[in-house]
């Protein structure tokens, strides 16, 4: 896949005389087996006492760069320096000794040990083999108070919430007196209140002249916390900008390399696409042009919330009548769900997670038996729990858990693409797969769906999240399905990939498919859907017209108050 980035490695922000940067990378290149160049001559530097955001899409090379800075990987080319001195880390331990510590996205904690034990693991302030819990716990409590990262040092890690676990990792860094902390997408697992708390900790750290490198692909956060921002795109450093001199639309452009508005999909006029404030008051618009009304804007009055199938002209392509189903533990989770989706229509399924959305999708895809009611595609009823029957009737399923259910991570792109088509496609002669034909087919799909991989033989687990989702979409949508069930199709994807996935779904609708879009992102639902059904405790709380509903109305139904 050709990269078309014109910008080379740009010099980082200010290069004036003064103290050397706390941490700097120059010309860092890292290639992985399989030919993926994760970092291509990246230049990055961060000063003492600043919050420096590393902004970029999924797969832009942010995490790789930081893994190099912290000694987990060794660069193929380029130099790293700390306080102006060149360093060559052979392990994270070397990096810790030099005062640089990374809090990973997948936290590195030992569940069965206590908080205190996790913090001192591999590092004793006093040396010696004996571990004395009381001394360590006192030290940790003192640090925790000072930096507002409160955790009970005696608790075992498995007892803690994700937010608390992250604080344990931050405590590890502070216990080692790290001068430079790298936080890899730290807010992903946090509640809004915890995010505020994290930000106050970060401010405390930089006030103490520490440096915080903040990896993120969320613009509002970056704008709130960062002093400077370095943007990475496709493995290259694009530029470094001062927070004060930039705004959301400039950062978004730098991050994706084109105006997001170009890729804007159709329903922009249909609903109110409000951005729920993520963090603080500075939440800006992601979209430089398209009008983004503020939260709470009512477009029109309350729509029809009858809960029954609307019945205008064309007959529904997908029709559910009083469907009931049980959950994983034998408890009933769907109660008399009645829905219809017409050809070309997108029906959004809104609701708080765990109200039956996943089970609903699985019932339609034939992965979960329904105990009562009927599911019909056109005129044909689906056999309960018959996944192959569902496929043969033209149902495509984009599952929520894309790595677990959507793809086989250790198979190649080609193999994943033919997983469904092998029965009908031209890529086989009897029971024998014709791999060269399958590869050719895969290459054309990779082009059509913009799947960026080193080739059709690249293993899917080596791809970034957005590209994995494109593999799923390519497989599911290339067969021109009649019905598409998309469960949280953009979760965890960056802005560019999100827009792409949305445009693919809209495209499928325009070609006449009936689309069910299940999402917890209400903005996404409102923006894309024609109608919205709200699930609450396994029942349809209401079905409304996307163009004529308010957030308040949807929120009330989602909370079971309507």
């Amino acid at each position: 896949m050709a990269t078309h980035v014109e910008t080379g490695p740009a010099p980082a922000g200010t290069a004036t005389a003064g103290p050397p940067p706390a941490v700097a990378a120059s010309g860092v290149t890292k290639r992985f087996t399989g030919g993926v160049v994760a970092n291509d001559r990246v230049t990055f530097e961060s000063r003492r006492g600043e919050v420096h955001a590393l902004l970029g899409e999924n797969g832009a090379g942010k995490t790789t760069l930081c893994n190099i800075l912290t000694g987990l990987y060794r660069p193929d080319e380029g130099d790293i320096s700390i306080d102006g001195r060149a360093v060559h880390f052979r392990s994270p331990h070397d990096a810790h000794a030099a005062g640089i510590f990374m809090v990973h996205q997948h936290l590195s904690l030992v569940d069965s040990l206590t908080v205190a034990e996790n913090v001192v693991l591999g590092w004793s302030r006093t040396g010696g083999v004996r571990y004395s819990p009381h001394r360590v716990e006192a030290e940790i409590t003192e640090i925790a108070e000072r930096y507002h990262v409160r955790v009970d040092p005696r608790a075992r890690v498995w007892q803690l919430s994700l937010g608390e676990r992250q604080r344990v990792d931050i405590l590890k860094a502070l216990y080692r007196d790290a001068r430079i902390l790298i936080l890899d997408e730290p807010t992903t697992v946090l509640t809004p209140a915890e995010i505020e708390q994290l930000f106050s900790s970060v401010r405390e750290m930089v006030a103490g002249d520490r440096t915080v490198v903040f990896i993120s692909h969320k613009l509002p956060e970056v704008l709130e916390i960062a002093d400077r921002v370095t943007i990475l795109r496709k493995g290259r450093s694009v530029t470094t900008v001062e927070r004060a001199g930039t705004d959301a639309s400039q950062l978004a452009r730098l991050m994706v390399g084109h105006d997001l508005a170009e890729g804007r999909v159709r329903r922009a006029t249909a609903g109110s696409g409000s951005q729920a404030p993520l963090v603080g008051p500075r939440t800006g618009s992601f979209f430089p042009t398209g009008g983004v009304p503020t939260a709470g804007t009512s477009v029109a009055g309350i729509g029809d919330a009858s809960g029954a199938v609307d019945s205008p002209a064309p007959a529904p392509m997908l029709r559910l009548d009083a469907v009931c189903a049980d959950g994983d533990f034998g408890r009933q989770v769907l109660f008399d769900v009645t829905l219809g989706i017409r050809p070309g229509e997108i029906l959004g399924i809104a609701g708080v997670a765990g109200n039956g959305q996943r089970e609903l999708a699985e019932v339609i895809a034939g992965l979960r038996p329904h105990t009562k009611g009927s599911v019909r595609v056109g005129d044909e009823p689906l056999t309960s729990g018959d996944a192959r029957g569902a496929i043969e009737r033209g149902i495509a399923f984009v599952p929520e858990d894309r790595m677990g259910t959507g793809v086989s991570p250790s198979l190649s792109v080609t193999e994943n693409l033919i997983l469904k088509a092998y029965r009908s496609g031209a890529a086989h002669a009897g029971p024998v797969l014709l791999m060269s034909r399958a590869d050719a087919e895969a290459v054309s799909l990779m082009e059509r769906f913009d799947i960026r991989a080193s080739g059709p033989h690249a293993l899917v687990r080596q791809l970034s999240g957005g590209n994995v989702q494109k593999v799923v979409l390519a497989r599911e949508l290339s067969s021109e399905p009649r019905v598409v069930i998309a469960a949280s199709p953009t979760r965890g994807l960056d802005v560019g990939a999100t827009e792409y996935v949305r445009s693919v779904l809209v495209g499928a609708a325009e070609r006449g498919a009936a689309i069910m879009l299940i999402s917890e992102d209400l903005d996404e639902i409102v923006e894309l859907s024609d109608r919205i059904a709200v699930l609450y405790e396994g029942r349809v709380a209401g079905i409304v017209d996307a163009g004529r509903c308010t957030y308040e109305e949807l929120g009330l139904m989602m909370a079971g108050a309507a």
Binding site: P92, V110, L121, Y131
Partner: protein, 310 residues
Amino acid sequence: MSQFFTQAILTATVASGIALATPFLLASLGETIGQRSGVINLGLDGIMLLSAFTSYYVALNTGNLGLAVLSGVGVGFLMGIATAFISVTLKAEQGISGIGVYLFGLGLSDLLFVKLVGTPLPIASLPAFRIPVLADIPILGPMLFQQTLLVYFAFLLVPVVTFILDRTTYGMKIKAAGENPAAADSLGVSVARIRWSAVLIGCSMAGLAGTSLLLYDGIFQQNLTQSEGFIAVALVYFGAWTAVGVMGGSLLYGLVAAVVLAWKALGIIPLSASDLAATAPAVLTVLALLWVGRRFRQPAVLGKPYERGE
């Protein structure tokens, strides 16, 4: 039945139960350390056999029991090097490589026995060591304090292993290597080095277990251990990866075995059923394992080699 419930016989049964438990205790304590670090060693029984034979051969030729014990531990250590190399450095599938080590130990000990010894002769057994004062306590004295030094040593290891695992930085690293090696690695703990050391300790203790079994029996024979090493692996699960739990399991096994022996000697169990009765300790242990075993979680990456990277 009533003749079993006399003080003398009960005391003797408990005493021999404790002695019978000792090889299990040594082997499973060592295996506990290894498994806590994430390495399962199914070759335990083979290592015990090789060490038992070596100790036997040394004792037979030198008459020096101290040397016999040392050589048994030494062979365990050497087998530990092989096991660690296969399991940790080569990252082999531990279930399969362990069976290989077992078969190697079983075959080689038998081969050496036939080639080097031929006619089995008994060796001097380890003398009982009466602990002054304590040995004279009625009932408890003869039960607990008239054992061999190896027995005392094995039971002393229980608090030692507990302390190492729970109160030293080394123990913390062992547990981290078995629960989340990537976390340990990211903190500069060398997972390979920790696992190597844990395997070496575990295999040395398995060697000592083989030796203690030999010194209890006083003679070597083909397949002396009769798969006790596998029971020792099961006892680690039974004991929920703690030294004290493993001690409980070993004692249960040893005491049941001793009771079966006593009942056989007293004719309570008819001769025709004696083979069946001999399986009682194993059956009981497995049943207890079903009950206890699933209530505790094993080390998260038990049996999985550690690979750094994505």
